[in-house]
Symmetry: C2
Subunit: 436 residues, 2 copies
């Protein structure tokens, strides 16, 4: 029997119970932080030598020298050539769809000319070099390689550098094949905080990157936070979540399985269903009981559902949408007859899966949009990973002589109001009096 | 005599000297971090009561109760009504130009339908509530209020909450007037780490925000870093910088004053000129010597130029552009006859000021583009503050029955390859076999 929480929006303590359910604070372990700081300092000071030492110690294989840290480029294409055809086809189909969606996201520059002949604009450029962290061992997800690498290449990043730890020298062929498909330019068999430090600061062998993306364990996440500023990073993700809003007309087995698909990630994952039909919630609960024992990862699913899941009864669809906006979920399924009308009421969500046929799992792998999404209510202020994360903007200003003269007075008045007279005089040099 | 560094790209140690010159690491002071953590914990635990205590202690005035922390909305419009007409006009001119530029940045959603009838898209929504930190006292810059607030309002942020400390109860009328013009919705007379904590977590009186932007001292910056994740934040800025590339034909007094305009911000500011004409560098050096004693902030300027400034001789324009890309400056002036050709070679810069008439000071106040820009080489991976920082994206996926059936096989194959069978089964429920 799962003990998934049952909440009603009419409960007097609903707000508090929901807050408790959603609460997630990544504990910043002082021990981890200190270890990571030491690793970063060692990589900065000793470069490849430290990288070899840490790899031997943490990944339990001994690189014979620094050149052994690099993966031969042909290694990726060989993996692609040797994986089963069905997997290769699935990876290529997914990659094509991810690329097609990403191409819609590419930002373009623009400019305009004002009445005084001053040109104003925005120039868009790709990042030069990006590092992609890929976890090794069991949690190696080829889909994550596609999702992180393809937007970078669509943005025009010239060099995409993958790092992947090889515990006891073991490589995941699907990960390498995905890297080949996604267009990874260079790869290194390193991982952990030492790989993040190498990507951020560079070593003799590993080139310094401008941004580091990709998931990792607590050491990787802590290292990414530590090097932020030196390089850009993507969001540090919390546990994965799904929120489903259902009108009570979807097959309850489908909804149960969608809840499982999040819960199977790990014990901290969060699966929540909101419906405005009490009987339907019971039918989903019955599906959960029936299907759970069939699942390969039933223990993980049960823990996640018991500790962080919920079945919530709302008064109606509008109230369900209001609760969804409060939760600001990573994944939001709108399993209703008219998903467009409901989607119009949603202000905060990483990805919205509309209609009964749009299982979140389709989005996780191959629908096209990215599966790297804001977690832990950060969809209130942040966005899915996209091409725009690998592009940046520069403002362009080109004042004509007339334009500079027109602006000089305003700039000078404001600069003097702030006590910055060099600013004022710099503007005044281009002003009308100086001209005359 | 200033002792501004002279470098030549042909010097054997040029790379090292340039790296040393650019090196900037914000020292993370453990004492500051600990104080900030305590303040955040107190605000979270005690709310307004702690806010009143800290305000009395740090800002040296005693709020009679929590209501005294809020600024009356009429206070802003009164300030606007009472400032000198020239300043009001300058603020309004600047605001109109900043707004006009920002409107070009607004992102719009999009969608498309694939061959199987699956709709894919991206929905764009504004942030609900944004907190704007404005420093009090001497470093109170009304231009920063405009630059931070206007993009948020153009994005459609419904509630913009300003906090501004009032040391010994003193308010800056220009800051309040700028807030009125920019459309700030609510304002509080609080500052420091306690104001950041209040904006991040909310108190009885101060509403919790989704993002916090705006400059501040080391306590404010440390607090913003600490609450990042709970809320979004803008970049934590380093010292301001200007890099000027000049072909030797601009009045050297103009260039000297442009270098001063950065250097006068503070002793850590960085002003660098690159030219490919050794005589011209000497003429600028002479202008610096002649003009410096006239400057109100000559001591600050001299320290900044001596400690962090440089006059660099390059071989030619192309080499100067390459050095500029290595520096990735916050502000880049292209003081040359053909700025467009040179701008095409620039990959990394926060803002590019093109041609001899485009003084950086014009951009600081009123050209239109934002003056909140990436510092300390972060233009390699980040962008000026803009409307897009106050919008976020949600992915939209609406699979048709046929589309879901087409995607199910791919998703299932990839999910099983990753050992995630609930994902696979969730996709398969929508697949062709299940349909039949």
């Amino acid at each position: 029997m799962t003990q998934i929480a049952r909440l009603k929006t009419t409960d007097p303590d609903f707000d508090t119970r929901l807050d408790d359910l959603l609460a997630w604070e990544s504990v910043s372990d002082t021990g981890v932080k200190q270890t990571v700081d030491e690793i970063i300092a060692a990589i900065r000071a000793q470069g490849d030598a430290a990288l070899i030492d840490y790899t031997a110690r943490f990944d339990r294989w001994q690189p014979r020298d620094a050149s052994a840290l690099a993966l031969d480029p042909t290694r990726l294409s060989e993996a692609l050539a040797h994986i089963p055809a069905a997997q290769r086809e699935a990876l290529e189909t997914a990659a094509a769809r991810i690329r097609s969606y990403a191409e819609h996201q590419r930002m373009e520059g623009w400019e305009f000319v004002d009445g005084d002949g001053t040109r104003l604009g925005q120039k868009v450029t790709p990042l030069d070099r990006v590092g992609l962290y890929v976890p090794g061992g069991k949690a190696a997800y080829p889909s994550s390689v596609l999702m992180n690498a393809i937007p970078a290449k669509v943005a025009g990043v010239s060099e995409l550098v993958m790092v992947v730890p090889t515990p006891q020298g073991e490589l995941n062929e699907l990960v390498l094949a995905a890297a080949a498909i996604a267009g990874v330019d260079r790869a290194f068999a390193i991982g952990g905080a030492q790989a993040v430090a190498a990507l951020a600061y560079g070593t003799e062998r590993v080139p310094a990157c401008d941004k580091i993306v990709g998931p990792g364990n607590i050491y990787v996440a802590t290292a990414k936070r530590a090097v932020f500023g030196q390089v850009g990073i993507d969001m540090v993700a919390g546990p994965s979540e799904i929120l489903i809003l259902c009108d009570g007309e979807t097959d309850p087995d489908w909804i149960a399985m969608d809840l499982f698909s999040q819960a199977e990630h790990d014990e901290d994952a969060q699966s929540i269903l909101i419906a405005w039909d009490a009987d339907y919630l019971e039918r989903v609960a019955a599906s959960i009981e029936r299907l759970l024992p069939q699942m390969e990862r039933s223990a993980i699913i049960a823990t996640a559902l018991n500790d962080r899941g919920a079945l919530i009864l709302a008064r109606d669809e509008d109230e369900a949408a209001a609760v969804a906006n409060r939760i600001a979920p990573e994944h939001l399924e709108l399993s209703v007859a008219e998903p467009e009308a409901l989607a119009a009421k949603i202000r905060h969500a990483g990805a919205i899966f509309m209609g009964r046929y749009t299982a979140e799992a389709l989005g996780d792998y191959c629908a096209g949009p990215n599966h790297v999404l804001p977690t832990s209510r950060t969809a209130r202020f942040s966005s899915p990973l996209g091409v725009y994360d690998f592009q940046k903007r520069s403002s362009l200003i080109q004042a004509s002589a007339a334009g500079a003269a027109a602006l000089a007075g305003t700039a000078s008045t404001l600069a003097r109001g702030e006590g910055l007279t060099a600013h004022a005089r710099s503007a005044e040099y281009r002003g009308p009096e100086h001209e005359a």
